[in-house]
Structure formats: structure tokens, C-alpha cells
Symmetry: C12
Subunit: 77 residues, 12 copies
């Protein structure tokens, strides 16, 4: 257990699936930007995801509502 | 007991189950993003969960109301 | 007594029991997320609990009103 | 007297007893969460208590008005 | 005189006595929570008291108006 | 002259005497809470006083108007 | 794993594709500003991207809605 | 010239004399609270004074308008 | 990879091209202020650019809408 | 040139002379509070002055408008 | 490449030329205040410039609109 | 190039000349307060000037509009 840096306050986004089969993809931080994780969401499932040492970008496929610090966004309008 | 870093101010989310059988799943921080904990909530149970050294994402299955710093969300509308 | 870090400003939540037999459960921080403390509240008892080195999640069973930094929540509506 | 850390800015809550025999209980910080102090308040007595190295949770029995950073709460409604 | 830490910004509360014989009691910080100081206030006397290395809780007996960061409180209503 | 810590930003309160013979008393910080300074104010005199290494509480006798970070207070109403 | 600096709070932007074939291009930080990553978005796909050690500018081709800390922007009006 | 601490951001108060012969008195910081400086202001003269290493309290005699961070005060009403 | 300073929170500006052939020019930080990068934007392309170790000024030619922390600006009015 | 502390963000006040012969006097920081600089302003001249290592108080003679962080003040009303 | 201090958050101003031949001049930080860079702007060109190690003042000739943290300014009214 | 302290966020003021022959004078920081730089502004020229290691006060002669953090000021009314 590290002695400092126990502080995981990085921002997060909130994603609500509006249909089955939504895909939330974490893209790698670092020189190569590639997919490192894919999470499947069914309708009404909610994912709350932080940016981390390994994830500096998130890509979302499928109808969702997203809450971020810059506001709310839907793609089913 | 550590000498520094006694500071657990990481953000948290508040989840209220709106039906029996809600599942709140902690996903691991780090290279592999996999389930590391699953908590079952019955109707009206409330869970208040921080992001931690081990949890950088949370997935929720079932009807809930969620309070986050980016606002409030329900999936039973 | 430690020389630094005397600073216990971590966030807290406020729980008011709306019935007898409310259970407030502290879940452990760390690799294993398990119950480490259970507090019983009778009707109208109030508990004000911080997140700590040992508690990174709180689970509540029974009718309550909860005050958090993300807003107020009741489960008896 | 320590050279640093003279800084006792931790948050506090304000409790006003609305009847005789109110009990304000400090619960220990650390692995074991047990009662470490009990303060009795008679009607109209006020207690203003910080979270400290030794107290990470407070439990209140009896009718009170409580002021916290998340708002005001009464249990005599 | 210490070289650092000359910084006494800890929060304070403001107490106005609404009757003679108000008692403001400082409770000790640390393992034992006991009375370490009692200040008597007559009607209309005002006390402005910080939390300190020695005081982590304040108990008030008698009719007062109190100003705190969480709001204003009277016990003579 | 110290090399660091030249920073005297501690909070202050503003006291206006509304009658002759107002007494503003500084109470000592530390284990013993005793009077260490008494300042007499005549009607309309104003005192602006910081909390310091030596003063952690202030007691006021006589009719005054006080401005603090928690609001304004008069005791002549 | 580094001991400090586990803190990935850099700002991010939110991009919603309003048509197929949107291109989001990361431009390199450093002396040379060149394309280092290109992400294709189809209609309604959402990308949430941080600035990083490797990306100090983002270029977007195609109809999008963008949320940033300086406001919202659309290019299909 | 010191290498650090060139930072004189301590708070100040603004005093406008509303009559001749206003006295602004600096009281010493430290164990002894005594007058260390007296400044005379004639009508309409303005004094803007910081708290400093040497001044932790200010006493004002005579009719003035004072601007502080806790609000505005006049003593000629 | 550096151990500290992984923090790329520098401010950014958002530029939307309102015509083809917009030029966004990065000017060098340092003793010499010269062009170090030129980015061409066609109509409706969006560029989001941080200030960096290498860029302390940005020059824009052509009709654009710009979002900055000091407000919004258009040059096609 | 010092390696740290290049940071001159101390607060300043803005003074506009409303008549000829306004005097802005810098008073010394430190044990002795004496005049160390006098600046004469003619009507409509403006002076913007920081608090510094050498100046902890400013005295103004003559009709002026002053802008400070605690508000605006005129002495010619 | 330095290990710390990768942080270029200094404030910037936004300048829009309202005519051809606008001149934006960077003045040197340090003992001598002299011109170190001159940038010419034609009508509708926009310049966004930070304060830097080398620039502590900016002088503008010609009709412009300027956005700063203290507000907006035009000189063509 | 220094390793730390690359941070030039000191406050600045914005000056617009409302007539020819405006003089903006930088006064030296330090024991002696004397003129160290004089900048002439013609009508409509704008100067944006930071406080620096060398400048702790600014004196302005001639009709101007000034924007500061304490508000806006004109001397041609």
C-alpha cells in the first residue's frame, strides 16, 4: 500500500444506456491510443467511470445519456 | 498507521435501489478492468460508495436513483 | 501522536432513521470489500459518519433520510 | 508542542437538544468502531463537535436539531 | 517562537448569552473527552471561540444565540 | 526576521462599542484558558482583532455590534 | 507504478458525432505538432477525451456537438 | 532579500476619517498586547492598513467609516 | 517517464472555422517569438488547443468563432 | 534572480485623485511604522499600488476615489 | 526537459483586430522594459497571448477588441 | 532557464488611453520607490501591464479607462 497519493479524485462521467448493446470503450493513455477495455451495457444499465492511469479517453457506441462536468448529453434525440 | 495521506476525500456516488435485486459492481483500477466486487441491493436499500485505490468504475444493473456530482439520474422513467 | 496529517476533513453523510431497526453498514476499503461494522439505529436516531481509512462504502437498510454533498435522499416515498 | 500541523479546521456539527436526555455518542476511528465517549444533553443544551483523530462518526439519540454542511435536520417532526 | 505554522485560521463560533449564567464548556481533544475549561457568560455577553489543539467540542448550557458556519441557532424559541 | 511563514491572514472580528466601558478580553490559547489581555472601549470606538498564537477566544462585555465571518450580531436589541 | 502523481484530473472535452465519418485527431505535445492518433466516429457515437502527456491539441472534422469548459459548440447550424 | 515568502497578501482594512483627530492604533502581536503605533487622521484622510508580523489588532477612536471583509461599519450614525 | 508533474491542466481555447482556409498559428514561448506550427482548418472544422511548453501565443487568420475563458468571440460580424 | 517566489500577486488598491495635491504615503512594514515614500498626485492622476515587503499601510490625504477588495470609497461626498 | 513546473497556466488576453495594421507589442519582463516582439495583425485576425517569462506587459496600437479577466474593452467607440 | 517557478500569473491592469500623451509609469519595488519605466500612450492605445519583480506600483497621467480586479475606473468624467 503506497504511503502517499491515496487520492483518487479524478473526474468521472456517468453513462446511462438507453438501449441494449451499448458499448463503453476505454482508450489507453500513452503513446499508443488503442482500446484496452470494452464494457457492454444493456438498456438502463448505468456505468460511472473515472479517468485513470490507463484510460485517458472513452468512446461510446449506442444510445446513451451522459453526465459530465461540462453538462449533459443525449444521442437519441 | 501511515504518517501522511490520511485523507479519504475521494468522491462518492449515492445509489438508491428502486427494486429488488439491484447489482452494484466495482470494476478494478489498473491494467485489467474486471469485476472485483458485487453488492446486491434490495428495494429501498441505499449504497454510498467512494472511488478507491481498487475501484475506478462502477456498474449498476437494475432500477435505481443515482446522485453524483454531475447531477441526478434515474433509469426507471 | 502523529506530527503531520492531523486533518480529518473527509466527507461525511448524515442518516436519520425513519423506522426502528435501520442498519448502517461500513464496508471495508481495500482489496476485499466486506462488512466491517454494523450500526443499528432506532426510529429518529441520527448517525453522522465519515469515510475513513477503513470505510470506503456505506450500505443502509431500512427507511431513512440521508444528507450528502450530492443532495438529499429518502427511501420511504 | 508540535511544530507543524497546528491546524484544527476539521468540520463540525451543531446539535441542539429538543428534550432532556439526549445522548451524543462519539464512535472511534480505526479498525474497531465502538463507543468512546457519551455526552448527555438536557433540553436546549447545544453541543458543537468536530470530527477528530478519535471520532469518525457520531450517533445521536433523542430529539434534536442538527446543523451540518449538508443542511439542517430535525427528528421531532 | 515556531518558524512555521503561524497560522491560526481554525474556525470559530460566536455565542451571545440571552440570560445570565450561561456556561460555555470546552471539551478536550484526544482520547479522553472531558471538560477542560468553563466560561460563564452573563446576559448579553458575547464569546467568540476557536477550535484549538485542546478543544474539539463545545457544550453550551443556558439560553444563547449561536453563529456557526452551518448557520444560526437559538434555543429560546 | 523569520524566513517563512510571513503570512498573518488569520481571521479577525470587528467590534464597535455601543456604550462606554465595553471590555474586550483575549483568552489564552493552550492548556490554560485564562484572560491575557483586556481592552477597554468607549462608545463608538472600534476594535479589529485577529486570532493569534496567544488568543484563541475573545469575550466581550458591554453593548456592541460585532462583525464576523458567520454574520453580524448586536446585543442591545 | 509511480509513487506520486496518481492524479489524472486533466480537463477533457466531450464530442458527439452528428454524422458518420467524423474524425477526431490528437495532435502531439512537444516541439513537433503532428497527428499521433485518429479516431473515427459514426453518427451518435460519443468520445470523451482528456488532454494528456501526448496530446495538447485536438482537431475535429465532420459535424459534431462539443462540450468544453468554455461552453458548447455545434458546427452544423 | 529573502528567497521565499515574498508574499504579503495579508488582509487589510480601509478606514476613512469622518472628523479631525481620528486615532488609528496598532496593537502588538505576541504575549504583550500594547500600543506600538498611533496614526492620526484628519477629516477625509484614508488609511489602508494590513495586519502584519507586528500588528494583530487595530483600535480606532473618532468617527470613521471602516471597510472590512466582514462588511462596512460606521460609528457616526 | 517523469515521476511528477503528470498534470496537463493548462488552459485551452476552442476554435471553429467559419470558412475554408483558416490558419491557426502557434507562436513559440521563449526569447524568440516565431511561428512554430501552422494548422489549416476548413469550414466547420474545430480545433481545441492548449498553451504548452512550446506555445505561449496563438494567432488566427480567417473567419472563426473562438471560445476562451474570457468569453466568446467571432470575427465575421 | 531568485529561483523561487517569483510571484507578486499581493493585493493592490487603486487611487484616483479628485483634486490637485493628493498625497499617497507608504508606511513601513516592521517594528517602526514611519513614512517611507510619498507620492504626489494631481487631479485625475491614478495610482495603483501593491502592498510590498516595505509597505504594509497606505495613508491618503486629499480628495480621492479608492477601489479596494472590500469595496469603493470616496471622501468628497 | 524539466522535471517539474510543466504547467503553463498563466493568464492570457484575446485581441481581435478591427482594422488592418494593428500592432501587438510584447514588453520585456525584468529591469529593462523594452519591446522584444512585435506582431502585426490585419483586420479580423485574432491573437491570444499569454504573459510569459519574457513578457510582462503588452501594448496595442490600432483598433481592437480585447478580452481580459477584468472584462472586455474596445477602442473604436 | 529556472527549474521551478515558471509561473507568471501575477495580476495585471488594463489601461486604455482616452487622449494623446498618456503616461504610464512603473514604480520600483523595494526600499526606494522611484520611476523605473515610462511608457507613452497615444489616444486609443491599450497597455496591459503586470505587477512584477520590479514594479509594485503604477502611476497614470492623462485621461484613461482602467480595468482592474477591483473594478473599472475612468478619469474623464
Amino acid at each position: 500500500m503506497p504511503e502517499n497519493g491515496r487520492f483518487y479524485y479524478d473526474d468521472y462521467v456517468v453513462i446511462k444506456a438507453l438501449e441494449n448493446g451499448v458499448t463503453v470503450i476505454g482508450l489507453t493513455r500513452g503513446k499508443d491510443t488503442r482500446f484496452h477495455h470494452t464494457e457492454k451495457l444493456d438498456k438502463n444499465e448505468i456505468m460511472i467511470a473515472q479517468f485513470t492511469e490507463h484510460t485517458s479517453a472513452i468512446k461510446i457506441r449506442g444510445r446513451v445519456e451522459v453526465l459530465t462536468k461540462h453538462g449533459k448529453l443525449r444521442n437519441d434525440e
